[in-house]
């Protein structure tokens, strides 16, 4: 409710007026006071670092000696862009992301269509499929290293059992990246599936009833109702899965250390190696800024489409 603010204190004693002003000030300041602690943390560990990393990326510096920083302008970026290793890193990141996102979302979409049932057995299966998502990537990585062990691993034993040749898994440049994709997909499918199922269940039932009365085939119903109604969920998963694939680190650090021959080195691991192991802070900062740009673009895109959707409704 809106009211015109009319000052009418001609008959109020001066003292009371002052008290009123003070009380008014407190109520005006209170919301900011409440937001302040969170804002301080966000500033210190989010907004300032974002600006700081851009600043750091135009210096030559190292974690060994933070006092000595030399201004080099665009040199770090130039170095990065002419570095064949970094090209490889970018290519790996892109390949890994596309494969993980396409497989992770495709499989989970099919699973969700299947597992969107109210049977008890299905509930157990849903929980099972979801369970890898809450397990530490450390354990997942080690577990899969063991499963993928070329000589004694379970996977090769199974391949042999069905008469197929043993696979190289993490040991070969050709198969290592794919193996990492497999682990990531295995971990994320459950989460995606549950999100898809939540999306499916929010589609009004009467839409399906209307379609059934219109003698819509299963395929038509899927194409004309389910997929369009699920598009916000699909879009959300595309963005978040892409962003988290950009961040892949734990599996690389534990399973491959970027190898063999740089074939699984990706952006965050590259930044980590350059900054923490090779003490090349400038290069690491420049690579961070590039990653920040990619994630930032996706975020802006995400908010932009979200706002557009709000308008349509």
């Amino acid at each position: 409710m809106q009211k015109a603010v009319v000052a009418n204190s001609a008959n109020a004693p001066l003292l009371q007026q002052e008290v009123a002003v003070k009380a008014g000030r407190l109520t005006k300041v209170r919301p900011y006071l409440y937001v302040l602690p969170a804002l301080l943390f966000f500033s210190a560990f989010f907004f300032i670092p974002i600006l700081y990393i851009i600043y750091l990326s135009v210096f030559d510096w190292s974690l060994l000696n933070l006092e000595e920083m030399e201004w080099v302008g665009w040199q770090n970026y130039a170095d990065l862009l002419s570095d064949a290793d970094f090209h490889q890193v970018l290519l790996n990141t892109m390949l890994f992301t596309v494969a993980t996102v396409v497989l992770g979302i495709g499989l989970s979409f099919l699973l969700a269509l299947w597992l969107n049932q109210k049977r008890k057995l299905v509930a157990v299966v849903q929980a099972s499929v979801f369970s890898p998502h809450i397990i530490s990537l450390v354990s997942v990585s080690m577990l899969w290293m063991w499963l993928m062990d070329p000589q004694y691993g379970l996977l090769n034993a199974l391949l042999e059992f069905i008469g197929l040749p043993a696979y190289t898994w993490l040991a070969d440049t050709k198969s290592a990246l794919l193996s990492l994709v497999l682990v990531s997909v295995w971990k994320v499918v459950g989460y995606n599936t549950i999100v898809f199922i939540a999306g499916l269940q929010s589609i009004p039932k009467d839409l399906y009833e209307a379609a059934a009365l219109d003698r819509s085939t299963r395929w038509q119903t899927l194409r004309r109702i389910t997929i369009p109604m699920l598009s916000p969920t699909l879009f959300f998963l595309l963005i978040t899965n892409t962003i988290s694939s950009f961040q892949v680190f734990d599996t690389i650090s534990i399973m491959t250390q970027g190898g063999p021959v740089n074939s699984t080195n990706m952006l965050v691991y590259y930044i980590y190696e350059q900054g923490m192991d090779y003490y090349n802070g400038g290069l690491a900062s420049a690579a961070s800024v590039i990653l920040l740009g990619l994630v930032g673009l996706l975020t802006v895109f995400h908010f932009w489409t979200m706002r557009k959707r709000v308008h349509y409704r």
Binding site: V6, N8, A12, A23
Partner: protein, 346 residues
């Protein structure tokens, strides 16, 4: 005399109210939805900022006092109980905030619970109570603070009809028992008439009339009050300059167009009964007359059939006259012969 005084000068929702609520009264604010009655109540409570003007309680200006410091208590339409606290804690919350010791709280809560009959429910959560019980908790929570003013915002509207009647009686007797000022908001005129000793009728942010229930019915100050109070509403027949009005129960119906009318009749019209509603003891007749549509209420001793030609007559002392532009009531003495509708004076 201690008195509660409120003066507002609000621009939009509530337009410059001037209202004195005597200490110890049961004042009812009544009006159609959106008339500003709830806003007025919430301003008294301090939940709504007062844009301009002064609000005085016991002669003290309280405009800028926080709600919790005004020494008022409020019963909300949806009770607004704290769902995570049990009944005891719900009632004790306000006391503890006012710095009463745990021991005093316990004693006071138990006392109140005894009065409203909740003693055996103190450990229950609101979700485990019936609507009527929740209502009592809300009442107890307000009463325990022994406030100077009780504010009630349509507290009975969520109860079923039977319980509502019962609570109505309980509230009035509670008021007599406590002797505290009650300010009660409702849109239901029956509630207003039966409970209040002072009724304030509001419309579009303005006070239409402030009077006792009897006076309100007998001497409505304007067209709005005349039509808002009473069921069915007062018959209003517009003429050139004024409107005349009369209560349905004051209209005499005589079958046929016989000219046998009492000499005292102030208003006469002929028409036909187009519909009737049998209420039991009474019958409502809808008459389409020359002057307009008329509702008459008669005892159900004899029934007149639909379609019957009737003569409607009203004694002069039961006629109300209103200014057509302002809607203000005109005194009966101001009746002018020529302005009456075609029926003419008997």
């Amino acid at each position: 005399m201690q008195q509660v005084v409120k003066k507002y000068n609000n621009q939009t929702v509530v337009k410059g109210l001037d209202l004195v609520i005597p200490d110890g009264s049961f004042t009812v604010l009544v009006g159609p939805s959106g008339c500003g009655k709830s806003t007025t109540l919430r301003m008294i409570a301090g939940l709504e900022e007062i844009t301009a003007g002064d609000l005085l309680i016991d002669g003290q200006r309280v405009n800028d006092l926080a709600p919790g410091k005004r020494d008022v208590a409020m019963v909300f339409q949806n009770y607004a109980l704290y769902p995570t606290m049990n009944v005891f804690d719900n009632i004790a919350f306000g006391l503890l905030n006012r710095g009463f010791s745990k021991k005093d709280c316990k004693r006071m809560v138990e006392e109140i619970a005894e009065i409203v009959g909740l003693s055996s429910y103190l450990q229950r959560k609101p979700a485990e109570l019936s609507g009527g019980q929740r209502q009592r908790v809300a009442l107890a929570r307000a009463m325990v603070k022994k406030p100077r003013v009780f504010l009630m915002d349509e507290p009975l509207s969520n109860l079923d009809a039977k319980l509502r009647n019962q609570m109505r009686v309980e509230l009035t007797s509670l008021h007599k028992q406590l002797g505290t000022t009650f300010i009660y908001v409702t849109h239901d005129q029956v509630e207003a008439m039966t409970m209040g000793d002072q009724i304030v009728v509001m419309n579009e942010g303005e006070i239409m009339q402030k009077a006792s229930p009897f006076e309100l019915y007998q001497q409505p100050a304007n067209l709005f009050v005349a039509q808002f109070i009473g069921s069915p509403a007062m018959n209003i027949l517009p003429t050139d300059k004024e409107s005349i009005g009369f209560r349905p129960e004051k209209a005499m119906l005589t079958a046929g167009s016989a000219r046998t009318i009492q000499p005292a009749a102030g208003f006469v019209d002929h028409g036909r009964i187009v519909a009737r509603e049998i209420l039991g003891s009474d019958v409502l007749y809808y008459v389409s007359g020359r002057a307009g549509k008329i509702i008459a209420r008669k005892a159900a001793d004899e029934l007149l059939a639909e379609g019957t030609e009737v003569t409607v007559s009203v004694a002069a002392e039961h006629l109300y006259r209103f200014d057509q532009e302002t809607g203000r009531a005109l005194s009966v003495a101001a009746i002018k012969q020529e302005s009456l509708p075609s029926g003419g004076l008997g």
